[in-house]
Amino acid sequence: MTGATRLGKDLLALEPLSPEQIRLILDTAEPFREISERAIKKVPTLRGQTVVNLFFEASTRTRISFEFAEKRMSADTVSIAASGSSVAKGETLVDTARNLEAMRIDMVVVRHGSSGAAQFLAERIESNVINAGDGTHEHPTQGLLDLLTLRHRFGSLEGRRVCIVGDVLHSRVARSNIWGLKKLGAQVGVCGPRSLLPNAIDELGVEVFDRVEAAIEWAEALNVLRLQLERMQAGYIPSLREYNRVFGVTRERLERAPGDMLILHPGPMNRGVEIDSDVADGPHSVILDQVTNGVAVRMAVLYLLAGGRPELAEAAKSAGKGRGGDA
């Protein structure tokens, strides 16, 4: 790091960030929340900047959240859904990187089905790269918005107990959450069928719960993950019905919680599978706060990365090849 409170060129993951860097993003997001509450939801911060949203994998929610964040900061944006385009015709990620570089864009928001794809791009282009989810690696802005949501309710995350429920094995959201929560001093639990928990999860210093009842008894917040329906076909679990009966977050189960409980979900939800509707829409749910905070966090990240560039376009040219952000 060039300084404890700088981000570097890219935001690829929460794992390499310091607690100070994470706090910086969250602190920066706070004023951006207010912008979203104004009548004219726009600031000129990124005027003249070009941001490409490159989505190799469909994700309406994340893409729209980024687009709102970019537009509220007055950036010029292009969104490219890469499925069915040149990528499907066999254009490789390295070709994509070369093309992006040739177009002299300022920032790239990338979602890709392969772990490490965002880093791959970041190492090959001068533009700032924001990982909007890569394979089963990380989804750092989702992790940050979850942190912001929890911090709002709790004040501080220090010592708070948060349990991630569901398919941790395949979840980039879970990974970003685990790193982020731990760095901010929270205690982290995971709960799910062992077939959907990484074997080495114990090495991360998290509590592992085999029963959701025990997780509820322990936790102050549950982050309920979406169960990908194909996990059943792949044989990780016997049926959705059984999953709901054993691991579903239901109102009956929550009623036995010793204290108040916050319910988070990265969406989109499978109601009646990992979460029941009366929980998702109930008084414990902060799911809509997450959506609001998502825009604010993404504005903060765009803002901080833009500021991390040496006086934007002109200066960058004279500064030479400034590759190799330290994020």
Partner: protein, 439 residues
């Protein structure tokens, strides 16, 4: 390989090291006449007509033999050819290499075996011994014609690149191979456990969000093969062992006199899964790089003889193929030109292996277990000799490789130990470029 212009060669004044006959002379001579070793021992008078190679300060040993590499021809001549691989081999000190059959088309018949031999002759560098496929097209469905292939020059059979999934097929292969006295070399991997995996399963795969391959994918197949070798009396050779558990299973088999031999690759003896961090596709291989505990167990197994040989699993790929998403990048690294230096740097210099053990693992034992000529400096054997500088430091620059492959996890590293001169069939086929000699 007879040539009328072949002058006698005197490799003069080097450390003569031949574990096959417990020979270790601080200063000695090796004389090669008519493609045969005529003398290896005390210094002798210089024959008038001989070409003299000054070996002062260098080790003179039997030529290295690699029982496992991928030459890519036929099918992927853009990536490697038999000629470029044979040149890479001699640059690495290998006088003979065994070519795995997973080419396109697969080496599963005598004509394909003959093609490799003829291409190798034309290349006139290292000897190339074809390995035939176990099953037709490596499909795992029907046995290939071992007898015909052996008749044409194949020295072993293997479906490497993939495992022999059916235990019954493996059993039959081991039984049938006994007729011809050849080893069955198996790529040990349970495909249902390894499915979709891109690296070792553990803390690093969890951090990177890559699907892991558990150690058990290898170990389950290793013990299956050992048990089938016990049942059949066939010789099973376990390729590229990578885990501590595999070492324990091999030890178990050897204690019971089961006919099992095993190899380990230089990369599994030197690197851990940490090399994958940052999604470096040069560290992507199958089996994957494992944990420090595994590396240590493998090093000890080489030292105590549980693992018989070091083989490179040389697997060149086109630059573009490695320059992509980690999960989709192909497995494998180029290995022929770095093997010696990796062993010197990671095993000899730290005191795990002696130079005599290194030569045994790279030359004597591989020739012995695959029944190949060479691997010894005994009088009358083929004049395949490697001369290397055990202490010379050099920095790995893949652009300088003789292989067409450039994918090396050692790129940029400074290693010690370098081939200076390689002799095959009594002819110098490699001599280190003069300008590089005293770097």
């Amino acid at each position: 390989m007879s040539a009328p212009d072949r002058r006698p060669i005197l490799l003069a004044g080097g450390r003569v090291l031949d574990p096959s006959q417990q020979l270790d002379l601080a200063v000695g001579d090796v004389l090669l006449v008519d493609g045969k070793i005529q003398h290896a021992g005390e210094r002798i008078a210089r024959p008038d007509d001989a070409e003299i190679v000054d070996c002062a300060g260098l080790v003179v040993s039997p030529g290295f033999v690699d029982v496992h590499c991928h030459l890519r021809e036929p099918g992927r001549e853009d990536v490697e050819t038999i000629a470029t691989a044979a040149r890479a081999a001699v640059a690495g000190g290998f006088t003979a290499v065994c070519a795995m059959p997973n080419t396109d088309p697969v080496t599963d018949n005598q004509a394909a075996v003959g093609f490799i031999i003829s291409q190798a002759k034309r290349a006139a560098a290292a000897r190339v011994y074809p390995i035939g496929a176990i099953t037709l097209g490596q499909k795992g469905e029907a046995l290939a014609e071992f007898g015909e292939m052996v008749g044409a020059g194949a020295v072993a059979v293997s479906d490497d690149g993939k495992p022999v999934v059916s235990a019954q097929m493996m059993r039959t292969a081991l039984e049938y191979a006994r007729t011809f006295g050849i080893p069955v070399a198996d790529h040990c991997e349970d495909p249902t456990l390894a499915h979709g995996g891109a690296m070792n399963e553990g803390a690093m795969s969890m951090k990177l969000g890559l699907k892991g391959i558990p150690a058990e994918a290898e170990e389950i197949m290793a013990i299956r093969d050992i048990l089938l070798a016990r049942r059949t009396g066939g010789h099973v050779h376990l390729c590229h062992m990578s885990t501590k558990g595999s070492v324990e299973l091999i030890r178990w088999g050897k204690e019971r006199n089961i006919n099992v031999t095993a190899e380990v690759c230089p990369h599994h003896l030197s690197l851990t899964e940490d090399a994958v961090d940052g999604y470096d596709t040069n560290a992507k291989m199958n089996p994957p790089l494992r944990t420090p505990e595994d590396v240590e167990a493998l090093q000890q197994a080489v030292r105590d003889g549980t693992i018989d040989v070091v083989a490179t699993d040389h697997a060149p790929h086109h630059y573009d193929e490695k320059e992509r998403e980690f999960a989709d990048a192909p497995n494998g690294i180029v290995g022929l030109e770095t093997a010696l230096a990796v062993l010197v740097t990671w095993l000899v210099e730290p005191g795990i292996l002696t130079y005599a053990q290194l030569v045994d693992k790279m030359a004597c034992a591989p020739a012995r277990i695959f029944n190949l000529p060479g691997g010894t400096l005994r009088r009358g054997s083929v004049a395949d000799v490697t001369v290397f500088d055990p202490t010379r430091a050099w920095t790995v620059d893949p652009r300088g490789f003789h292989s067409k492959g450039r994918n090396s996890p050692y790129a940029g590293r400074t290693l010690r130990g370098r081939t200076v001169c390689t002799v095959v069939d009594g002819r110098v086929v490699y001599r280190e470029a003069a300008e590089a000699t005293r770097a």
